[in-house]
């Protein structure tokens, strides 16, 4: 029974954590490049230098004392996002989408005070959400106004598109849709929905919620499949460029679609999760192996995305 299950998964080419780490992350992602993606501030600066769209940076808090200067900066913005520079898994992200004098409103309608905001920033700076607990920086940045295309199929929060890029070739992607359960966050393990995307057309397929496959959004009841992602070609190009940007062979690129500014890179991930396979109802391994065989013949990003659209279309 267990062996049978393993055989079926192997036949489908499902990539699991041991193999991802041993044969892809450890092999293609040199350790020295990690800071580029682990520190979101560095990622942001790197992207800006190369003319890639990212959410605007409002402020960085590196030591507790700096919060004193925050009111001056925040007075200019009624919407912003606080996130740890070294966060992982979407932890420690606080979204503010409105304010009343000295109080801030979160997307779920809860009101927080300046003290609570400061406490959150202190937690971030002292390393509560960073890997290994070392001191961190809090980034305060532009809050994305997402493209209305996703409005019917997301609950609060910002849906984002995750694209796995292997050696510059986008191999698999999904759109992550916040739910009531995920508290407006777009991370699958926090309860967000992941819908697979047809690499050739940019249309959504079925979705995964937890570890099950579903076809409707649990909060809105709308069908999550068949939604066409706007600017799909741009998204693929953006994702492919991240390979040249960081040099990481195997990475996950998180992109948001802003209503006004178009696709923006939210963050890069050197160890992207594996549930994307469930969302796409497909294994990553055959695609990765195909890229491994042919990547030397693909010289620029246009060839790479053509390769992706040709070989990784939904069945």
């Amino acid at each position: 029974m267990i062996l049978d299950l393993a055989a079926k998964l192997r036949k489908k080419g499902v990539l699991a954590i041991n193999k991802r780490n041993a044969d892809f992350v450890l092999k293609y992602n040199p350790r020295r490049l990690y800071p580029l993606v682990d520190d979101k501030l560095q990622t942001k600066q790197l992207a800006q230098e190369n003319g890639i769209g990212v959410p605007d940076l409002y402020a960085v808090v590196e030591v507790e004392g700096q919060v004193r200067h925050l009111p001056e900066i925040l007075d200019r913005h009624s919407e912003f996002v606080v996130k740890p520079a070294h966060g992982s898994g979407g932890e420690g992200i606080l979204v503010v989408d409105g304010r009343m004098n000295d109080r801030f409103r979160k997307p779920d309608g809860l009101i927080i005070t300046y003290d609570e905001l400061n406490h959150h920033i202190f937690n971030v700076v002292s390393g509560l959400y960073s890997l290994g607990g070392q001191p961190d920086k809090a980034i305060i940045e532009y809050r994305v106004e997402f493209d209305p295309i996703f409005a019917p199929i997301s609950y609060l929060g910002v849906p984002d598109v995750r694209i796995i890029v292997f050696l510059g070739v986008p191999v698999m992607s999904m759109v992550r849709l916040p739910t009531r359960m995920s508290d407006g966050k777009a991370n699958l393990h926090q309860g967000a929905l992941g819908a697979g995307i047809d690499m050739a057309t940019g249309e959504t397929l079925s979705a995964v919620w937890g570890n099950e496959i579903i076809s409707e959004h649990p909060d809105t009841g709308r069908s999550v499949s068949g939604v066409e992602i706007p600017h799909w070609e741009d998204l693929l190009l953006l994702a492919s460029r991240c390979y040249e940007l960081t040099g990481l062979g195997y990475q996950g690129v998180d992109i948001v679609l802003d209503r006004n500014k178009g696709p923006l890179i939210l963050e890069l991930n050197a160890r992207p999760g594996l549930n994307i396979q469930i969302a796409n109802n497909a294994g990553l391994l055959p695609r990765l192996e195909l890229v491994e065989q042919h990547h030397e013949s693909l010289t620029d990003m246009y060839q790479r995305i053509e390769f992706a659209k040709k070989h990784f279309a939904a069945a």
Partner: protein, 513 residues
């Protein structure tokens, strides 16, 4: 290339490890299974007195090796004193001396007594010269009458001695015996007099003093009473007699300390002399005893083995060498099964403390401690503290909880509770902190799953580490560590599915392939 390199390394490690193992096991015949343990004893004599600023000389009889017991690892603890050990005709004796000393003085003699089996000495023992003791006044008549009476009722020396002992121990003694023993008929007085009476009767006899090595009766802090018995020369051997029952020889657990009726310690230049003898039993693995007895040859290999270390350091390594075994279990559970735990090696450390607490009470104590710590941590969360002060606060709470646990369980008479102190407190603190963060970020479900995973891993690691054979094998054959290392290196390249991956991706197996 990369993989080949790894395989060669693994093969080399495994060959070295297994090769040494087989050589030691089958050529040098190191025991493969833990042998029965050997009971050894720590004995200690503490001599305390008050010195008066004058030269001090203290001499103490010390035990010598006999046919039944070997005296090893002797230590003399005496700051500032000169030390001279002499082996006289009958006794070993140590003399401490100092030119000037004042105030309370403590001198110690410590040794390890190990049971041995030595063959009976061949040849004959020369009969001792003994002078006929003199008895005063009515004693002279009494001893004459008693000896005649006893000799009439016995056939040879042993029966004579037995008869004498019976007479001396009679609850209603006859007049002769009463005269000889005097008003204070203590056991040592009886033994003393018995030796004199026997010598008077022409039978060489002497008094021997010693201790009884009784398991579980004494601990080191208690004073062990002295014991005296008789030795009688017969058939060119010395025979020992139990002065109470008249049996010969005396039981095996009687340790001979010195002979003669002199007292254990002689002191010059001090007062308030007090001597405390104490013993404590200690269980030692058969192999250590075998090594010390020289049963295993090839001294070179032993010289560089763990057995060359002092016994208490050996005990530390006994535990330390189990950590790699626990780590191996951990690797299997995490990388093959896919169980989530808090912290990488936290379960191994918890498993180590389970060795002291026992499995069941360990799990209960751990869960209680974590649960209470967690609720206090949630309360602290409301105070909005910075991370490091908050961690320190949780640490203090954990230490306090441990103390309270120990006090409460101790007063309830549950001694298991005392061992809660053995939980690594920093690890506990980090576990509570991580668990509470996981709890808030991803819900109670995931936090409890990871907590249960940690406990399960710790329990499994403990169960394996606690197998006597495992402990024995890894300690006697530490080269097996190389084999474990090789296995872990191999597992480091295992890229197949974890058991729990199968559950996670189950949905993918249903669709068409």
């Amino acid at each position: 290339m990369n993989k080949l390199h790894l395989y060669i390394l693994v093969a080399v490690l495994a060959v070295i490890g297994l090769g040494l193992f087989f050589y030691k096991a089958f050529v040098l015949s190191f025991p493969l299974a833990p042998r029965s343990t050997v009971q050894v004893w720590n004995v200690e004599a503490r001599v305390s007195f008050v010195a008066e600023g004058n030269p001090v000389k203290v001499s103490l009889f010390i035990p010598g090796s006999t046919r039944r017991y070997a005296i090893v690892d002797e230590h003399f603890i005496s700051s500032g004193y000169g030390l001279a050990a002499t082996t006289g005709e009958a006794n070993r004796r140590v003399t401490w001396s100092i030119r000037k000393a004042a105030g309370k003085q403590n001198l110690y003699y410590q040794a390890v007594v190990r049971p041995v089996r030595t063959a009976a000495p061949k040849g004959e023992i020369e009969p001792p010269e003994s002078e006929i003791p003199k008895f005063k006044g009515p004693g002279e008549e009494a001893v004459k009458a008693l000896v005649e009476d006893i000799k009439a009722k016995s056939a040879d020396t042993p029966t004579t001695v037995a008869e004498l002992i019976k007479r001396l121990n009679n609850p209603s003694p006859d007049d002769n015996v009463r005269i000889l023993l005097g008003p204070k008929a203590t056991l040592s007085r009886k033994v003393d007099q018995a030796a004199r009476i026997l010598r008077y009767a022409g039978i060489p006899a002497r008094v021997v003093q010693g201790l009884r090595l009784q398991p579980e009766k004494y601990d080191f802090s208690k004073k062990t009473p002295l014991l005296s018995w008789l030795e009688v020369y017969h058939n060119k051997q010395w025979l020992s007699f139990d002065p109470l029952r008249g049996r010969s020889p005396v039981p095996n657990d009687w340790l001979r300390w010195w002979q003669g009726s002199q007292s254990l310690v002689q002191l010059e230049g001090g007062s308030k002399l007090n001597v405390v003898l104490s013993i404590s039993p200690k269980v030692e693995e058969g192999i250590t005893a075998a090594v010390q007895r020289g049963e295993i040859s090839k001294p070179l290999l032993l010289k560089f083995s763990l057995f060359s270390l002092p016994v208490n350091t050996q005990a530390v390594y006994r535990v330390m060498l189990l950590v790699p075994v626990g780590a191996f279990i951990l690797v299997i559970l995490r990388n093959i099964v896919g169980i989530k735990t808090f912290g990488t090696f936290m379960p191994v450390l918890i498993a180590l403390s389970f060795r002291e607490t026992g499995l069941l009470s360990g799990i209960v104590l751990f869960s209680l401690l974590t649960a209470i710590g967690l609720s206090i941590r949630f309360y602290l969360e409301r105070l909005k503290l910075l991370v490091v002060p908050r961690l320190a606060a949780v640490l203090i709470v954990v230490v306090g909880l441990m103390a309270i646990f120990s006090i409460v369980t101790n007063s309830l008479g549950i001694h298991r509770g005392l061992s809660v102190a053995l939980f690594p407190m920093v690890i506990m603190t980090m576990t509570i902190e991580r668990m509470s963060i996981l709890w808030e970020e991803r819900g109670s479900g995931e936090a409890l799953i990871a907590g249960a995973g940690s406990l399960l891993t710790a329990a499994l690691a403990f169960l394996v580490m606690n197998i006597k054979h495992v402990e024995h094998m890894i300690f006697v054959f530490p080269e097996l560590l190389l084999v474990i290392l090789a296995a872990i290196l191999l597992l480091g390249r295992y890229s197949g599915y974890r058991l729990l991956d199968l559950h996670r991706f189950k949905a993918l197996a249903k669709g068409p392939t």
